[in-house]
């Protein structure tokens, strides 16, 4: 498997996920400190570093409370003379950027690289945020790979650039790069033992304010000039020679889509592939566009390259026709693929794409017209299903379903907006439910409910909670404590007794935390005791002040793995059809994918290989029909 390839000491070829190639690149650069908060599409970087941590034993790793802390950890290590690496998803940089902008000013010491991954199409993010502006806005060099090979090579190179210019370097990726597997020629692995430094030996000054900030600003403008000069010459900005007076400028995965599209059309246009987003290689771009009549710019999301290249063309080649987003050929929406690029190329050259893609899509849409959708859903055995059912029951009994406002947060439980729950009046960003609740508590007559998971609690919810308590706000807060950061792959967090690679860590005592802050009421429920949870939830909702409901039960996927580790079996449940009266509470109110209808007798049936044996469905059933085979 590919983790084995990450460990290899030779320099042969390997088939690797780009996220694994990034890890390999950092290891080849002899990285010494790594820190992360998980987030798709970067989580496998964290997971891979965790998996090989013991094997190497010569770097230090932390799963941080949030991305800002992770970036600061890497920065602190760099100041202390240790090469460091950090990665996060697009919106993670929003959290980290406060420190990132200052780091842009202060600079750093040992090589420090930060990967940020944008998610065009918002596969698993709250927006199609374009993170390319961070580099320019903070004067921090930013690079972008297209393949697994480049992901490895550019990570390694980024450490050198960072150290040479004493600055953070950001590597920007997109989902289709992170989750691309390809052949990678490994470099040699020369690891050195981990050794703590003495501050006196490495010391520098890392503060910025007022007059110091103004002096630093002048310095970073000089630094940017030097980096630009280096970037003009790097092999990661390169030209593929071609024919004609129409050229393409592109970057990242769009380079690959463009090359394949040209291949399909038997076209060979000259292509400038950009590897450095900031500073852009302006001279190289100028030389490339000077002889052209037409330029096609292929980039997803905003016209970042297009805007800057259009400005350059004004002086260098004012008659250049630019085909991109402003011309209406490409969209700022969604992610691109070969057909999208091929269709634009074909239209520009007044020819036809290699296949009638529109007809293929149209036929497929017709064939799929009746195909039932498969929306994301809580896993079988998920405790959130029980918590949300009990919450709905509590609202029904209190007769206040229409007198509440529900502020959702980021995690698996975000899916509470889907049927059968249909909750979610707001959902913005990690921890945002608390701040939004403060505003709503000031403004609405209704009962204000907020919901966070344990990882989100420690990530960004704490200031919001302190704020609510301080202002005596009347809010009910659910904390869904499932032990891990579930959605991104069950990583450990401050709520776990473990850190990366299952090394020991201290678990924060959640009840003590809320007691210490002065929460007005703390209620703990077990979502698997679903029925018994209704009354405590009702009481908690009726309480004045900040009332906290901790719903505690392991994430089913994590719990199953822990059971397996302990040699325990997962016993699926069955439906006792003699008892079952076809009430379908388990179907209507519960939406468990292990529950189906047996078409022979129209009674509920539990799919054995999907069932997790949680028996939450028995709790929901008015006649207790589901049971565990062999009692219990």
């Amino acid at each position: 498997m590919t983790v084995e390839d990450v460990k290899r000491t030779d320099d042969g070829p390997a088939l690797m996920l780009a996220n694994e190639a990034v890890v390999r690149g950092a290891l080849e650069a002899d990285v010494k400190v790594v820190a992360f908060y998980p987030g798709s599409p970067t989580s496998e970087i964290l997971d891979t570093f965790g998996e090989v941590l013991d094997h190497f034993g010569d770097y230090r790793m932390e799963i941080s409370a949030n991305e800002k802390v992770a970036l600061e950890t890497a920065a602190g290590a760099s100041m202390a003379g240790q090469r460091s690496f950090v990665s996060m998803k697009s919106v993670g940089m929003n959290v980290a950027s406060d420190s990132m902008f200052s780091i842009g000013y202060t600079g750093l010491n040992a090589g420090c690289v930060c990967l940020i991954a944008d998610d065009p199409y918002a596969h698993s993010s709250q927006s199609e945020q374009d993170g390319r502006y961070f580099g320019e806005a903070a004067y921090v060099p930013m690079i972008e790979p297209a393949t697994a090979q480049e992901a490895k090579d550019m990570t390694k190179w980024a450490f050198e650039v960072s150290e040479r210019h004493k600055t953070l370097v950001i590597m920007r990726t997109t989902t289709r790069v992170n989750h691309q597997r390809g052949m990678v020629n490994l470099g040699k692995l020369d690891r050195t033992p981990f050794k703590k430094n003495k501050w006196a030996d490495v010391k520098g000054e890392y503060f910025t304010v007022g007059a110091i900030a103004r002096a630093l600003k002048a310095k970073i403008l000089e630094r940017t000039k030097k980096v630009r000069k280096e970037f003009e010459k790097t092999k990661f900005n390169f030209i593929d020679e071609g024919e004609g007076d129409t050229g393409i400028i592109t970057a990242g995965v769009c380079y690959l889509h463009s090359k394949e599209a040209m291949n399909n059309l038997n076209m060979e246009l000259p292509v400038l592939k950009i590897g450095t987003l900031f500073p852009l290689p302006e001279q190289k771009i100028g030389e490339f566009i000077k002889p052209l009549k037409r330029l096609i710019i292929v980039e997803e999301l905003t016209p970042y390259l297009e805007t800057r290249i259009t400005a350059l063309a004004k002086d260098i080649n004012p008659d250049l026709e630019i085909i991109g987003k402003r011309s209406g050929h490409f969209s700022e929406m969604l992610e691109y693929n070969v057909p999208i690029v091929e269709k634009v190329l074909a239209s520009v050259f007044e020819t036809k794409p290699s296949l009638d893609y529109d007809a293929i899509l149209e036929r497929a849409e017709k064939l799929k017209a009746d195909l039932p959708e498969r929306s994301p859903i809580f896993c079988p055995g998920c405790p959130h299903r029980g918590t949300l059912w009990a919450f709905r029951e509590a609202l029904r009994k209190l007769k206040i379903r229409d007198d509440i406002v529900y502020n959702n947060d980021i995690g698996c439980y975000s899916m509470a907006f889907l049927p059968p729950n249909n909750f979610s009046d707001s959902m913005l960003a990690m921890g945002a439910s608390l701040g939004v609740s403060a505003g709503m508590a000031l403004s609405l007559e209704d009962k204000v409910i907020a919901m966070v998971g344990d990882s989100t609690l420690y990530h960004a919810a704490l200031p919001g909670i302190v704020n609510l308590i301080h202002h005596n706000a009347n809010v009910t807060l659910f904390v869904l404590d499932n032990s891990v950061t579930a959605m991104t792959g069950q990583q450990f967090n401050p709520n776990s007794p473990y850190d990366a690679g299952r090394s020991p860590a201290r678990k924060i005592d959640m009840e003590k935390l809320f007691e210490g802050l002065g929460a007005d009421k703390i209620t703990v429920i077990d979502p698997y005791q679903t029925r018994d949870s209704v009354k405590p939830i009702m009481e908690a909702i009726e309480a004045e002040g900040l009332s906290v409901i901790i719903a505690r039960r392991d994430c089913a996927l994590y719990g199953d793995r822990e059971k397996k580790r302990a040699g325990e079996k997962i016993i699926p449940s069955e439906n006792d059809k003699e008892t079952c009266r076809g009430i379908y509470a388990c179907v209507k109110e519960f939406y468990c994918p292990a529950i189906v209808v047996d078409e022979s007798d129209h009674k509920m049936m539990i799919v054995q290989d999907l069932c997790d044996g949680c028996l939450e469905c028995r709790q929901v059933c008015p006649v207790d029909a589901p049971y565990h085979v062999g009692g219990a």
Binding site: T2, L15, S40, P41, S43, H123, S124, T175, R176, H179, Q180, R181, G182, M183, V253, L256, H257, E260, N263, N337, V338, P339, E342, L355, Y357, I360, L361, R363, A364, L367, K368, D370, L371, P372, R374, S375, P376, I377, C379, P380, C412, M415, A486, M487, G489, L557, Y584, V587, K588, Y591, C592, P593, I595, V596, V597, E599, H602, V607, D609, L610
Partner: protein
């Protein structure tokens, strides 16, 4: 190998699609064939729709263009239809006959008092797929896996069937070796049998 051979893997989260893709990735690499994939990771919930674009030879983009997959391997039948735009006309589909209903569908079936609303059937799916290709290897993968001695060897059944396709670029022995190397050691015997049963069944389907 010359040119590019594209496989669209699809299924439902939790079925082991990533392992299947790793097995073929290893087999191809060991045979000296270049591989590139576009994978769907991300939200880790079970029972969602998932896919892997698996490309061999000289692909450039990680994503297969619509209508250019030579082969589709579906671990769940309705997922074959969900990604049908990727299959070329007359491409091969190797699919399990298992249909895993979505909760929304179960709700509709359950709440129809007249019991007229039925689940989407494998026959309906097959009829639609046949409008794109007749080369369909429909396998009762669970039954074959159970026959092999372990119901969890469905993946090996499907992958065995792959080697029955004439123009499949990786030699059958390499694929088998890679399967046995990557499955848990205790299950090697059942997986060997499952692979062989899949190979036979695949050969029968394609005639």
């Amino acid at each position: 190998m010359e040119g590019t051979y594209n496989i669209m893997f699809c299924g439902v989260g939790g079925q082991g699609l990533m392992l299947l893709s790793s097995i073929l990735g290893k087999a191809a690499t060991d045979s000296g064939i270049k591989v590139m994939t576009g994978e769907q990771h991300g939200l880790s919930q079970r029972q969602g729709s998932i896919y892997v674009h698996f490309r061999m030879g000289n692909p450039i983009s990680p994503l297969i263009p619509y209508g250019k997959a030579d082969l589709m391997i579906a671990m769940e039948a309705s997922e074959a239809l969900r990604y049908i735009e990727y299959l070329k006309d007359d491409g091969i589909i190797i699919m399990s006959n298992r249909v895993m209903p979505s909760v929304a569908e179960t709700r509709e079936v359950a709440l129809d008092k007249d019991e007229k609303t039925k689940y989407y059937t494998i026959e309906e799916i097959e009829e639609k797929l046949r409008q794109v290709t007749d080369k369909i290897i429909l396998l009762d993968s669970l039954e074959l896996a159970t026959k092999a001695g372990n119901p969890k060897t469905e993946n090996s059944v499907l992958i065995g069937a792959v080697t029955a396709c004439d123009d499949f670029p990786i030699p059958a022995d390499e694929v088998k070796e890679s399967v046995l190397e990557l499955v848990p050691p205790k299950t090697v015997k059942a997986n060997t049998k499952a692979f062989e049963l899949g190979q036979e069944a695949g050969g029968d389907c394609l005639g």
